[in-house]
Symmetry: C2
Subunit: 379 residues, 2 copies
């Protein structure tokens, strides 16, 4: 397909780190990595306009296949020129496969080798998602990066269940790979296997066998950060990333906190997505370079300082904590928007700063300084 | 005080219309009239950032004394540099007196000649508002235009009650007039009297007697559009406006619909405010040059056209009805913001276009064409 030219720019290449900066090209623009993708579940990054999003300046955003196919429908979006046109975002978009949402949101699931029968969480209607249908939806949406359909078992599933699930995901991956996507769409494969490194590596072998015949444009790690202990996640992530092809982007799905993103970057992950920054913002929980603050807290009531003295986002440039505290207490919509602008800006900036540190060959120092600042007391 | 130099620029001056364009200056900028003031009840025009509001470009906005004094408190806002600084709006601001909200929102009211005892609608705490306290709050907020405290009886009150209320409002006005406001603040008097023209004119005489000793910077008409029949409101408005001094701005409080604003302009009103555009927007009811639409309606589901083909606001430039329909159905915050941007832009633009028509001496044609377009069928 050739639309993805992933170019690893800078590897630290010492024993302690596999971290790297890179870039790849889509028909909607270049993506500089490492990068964080804000989540636009229903065709909108909650609470912000495309103009505000442009100022936050993520390299790429994410749309949800499950939600968009149920409402307003992928055919409707196609008829209106595709997801970019529909939501007025002209930068790159990645769509997920819908698998994760079916396994976490829908009810009455019945999984067969063919696909998944489920009830819509919106109106209870009976629906079906197969590898082919997931590809068709994503082709209709016209996203730049399409994710293969995977089975997503619950975190802490039994090994036997995970093994079966990995096998099915491999079979589904073959069907996704043979589906004819749009000319400018790239397909990412997803690795599963819970926290069992051997299972993950075996799955990766199967993926690379398919890849050898018809290459994927990237590789994703699914099924982590779903309830397992942090140490187990970190251990398997660290080992697994080493085995992923280094000539294509690596995407750690659904991660995460600033701490997890920084750890992922150190292991050599290129792409991240998570609802955490936007969801936390709507609850008044704000991420800052000097640790987390809760804007509801009474000590912000009279504070004339910005959320984060080291942040240059619209919210931090213009508004005091006292004002944001007031908006939150008064239930004003604007508070949700301003908090979201900040949390997204903070997270996007974290990956941008890490990229710069990688280019300067100073990631270890950057990571140390960042972690130390997060421990600041008395915000 | 001299900060208000109201300059009536263009009067049509024929028997059928007293409409006029004008301008006056505040320390936060010039206000071109006729003009519509978006309402920022709690220190925020609901759902829009100051940057978005700047693009909508109202000449002046409104803040609510009652709400802001209860939360976050006028002393707090003063300590943070005043309302302009607190909410990051550097254009002119008018604050109301708090009277209307006490009579419509608070409970356990007890009215005395001294002032009003009431319970906060937020936490039930006991509060007191007097003419002096209203002036003090508005001085702390630092608004450009301060409204005198009036008693606001319910629409359709008995005449005897209205008479008593008007007398009290006159006494309170004297106390407001003697209160020492900020150097750059102007004070507007409010005329009451329900739909009884003779009562209104008698009240106006009393107001002008006070004005003769120490002039007000403008005159407001309160207590209309509070449930009385439209014909009665229009009749009293039409006659009353003729008697207001023509060298200072005339403000019709709490009005209103596009139809009512246009009628008011034709009678010679200069300023309007209303929550209607913002509140309706949040319910998906959109004002357009070709009549009202409800974005929830299924016929907008596939529509690739903007809300209003004649509108150049951010929402209409960028988004389809289909997208806004989807956002509303999906409960997305962004829908509230985009709808609000449109309804405010539409209302502000209506007054701007009327001003231009007045300058071109073509208001009657403009009004005729506007009313005809509102009747367009098959949106």
């Amino acid at each position: 397909m050739g639309i993805f030219q992933f170019c690893p720019e800078h590897n630290i290449n010492n024993n302690s780190s596999a971290a790297r900066a890179g870039r790849f090209t889509t028909s909607h623009g270049e993506v500089l990595t490492p990068t964080f993708m804000p989540v636009g579940t229903q065709g909108s990054v909650k609470g912000v306009t495309p103009a505000q999003l442009k100022e936050i300046a993520p390299q790429i955003i994410l749309g949800n296949t499950y939600h968009l196919s149920l409402r307003p429908g992928d055919e409707l979006i196609k008829s209106l020129g595709g997801l970019h046109n529909f939501m007025a975002w002209d930068g790159p978009i990645l769509t997920d496969s819908g698998g994760f949402q079916i396994f976490s949101l829908a009810s009455m699931r019945k999984i067969t080798d063919d696909g998944v029968f489920f009830q819509s969480h919106i109106d209870g209607s009976k629906c079906f998602l197969s590898p082919e249908r997931s590809m068709e939806i994503q082709r209709n949406l016209g996203s730049d990066i399409v994710m293969a359909l995977d089975e997503c078992p619950a975190g802490r599933s039994e090994r036997l269940k995970l093994e079966k699930s990995v096998s099915r995901t491999t079979e589904w991956l073959k069907r996704c790979r043979t589906f004819s996507l749009g000319e400018h769409q790239g397909l990412f494969a997803i690795n599963q296997g819970g926290t069992h490194l051997d299972l993950r590596l075996r799955h990766l072998e199967d993926i690379l066998e398919i890849d050898a015949k018809c290459p994927f444009q990237g590789f994703a790690i699914g099924g982590l950060s779903v309830g397992e202990p942090k140490e187990e996640m970190n251990a398997v992530l660290s080992e697994l990333v080493k085995e992923l092809p280094d000539d294509r982007p690596r995407y750690l799905m659904g991660v995460g906190t600033p701490e997890d993103i920084l750890f992922g970057i150190e292991q050599g992950v290129d792409m991240f997505d998570c609802v955490l920054p936007t969801r936390e913002a709507r609850h008044g929980r704000l991420l800052t370079s000097i640790g987390r603050i809760n804007i509801k807290n009474a000590r912000h009531r009279f504070s004339d300082t910005p959320i984060d003295p080291n942040c240059s986002c619209y919210t931090c440039r213009i508004f005091s904590r006292a004002y944001l505290h007031h908006l939150f207490k008064a239930g004003e919509l604007l508070g949700l928007t301003l908090n979201t602008i900040h949390n997204l800006s903070y997270t996007v900036e974290l990956t941008r700063a890490a990229r710069k540190a990688l280019q300067d060959k100073s990631l270890p120092d950057f990571a140390l300084a960042t972690r130390r600042l997060w421990q600041t007391e008395g915000l």
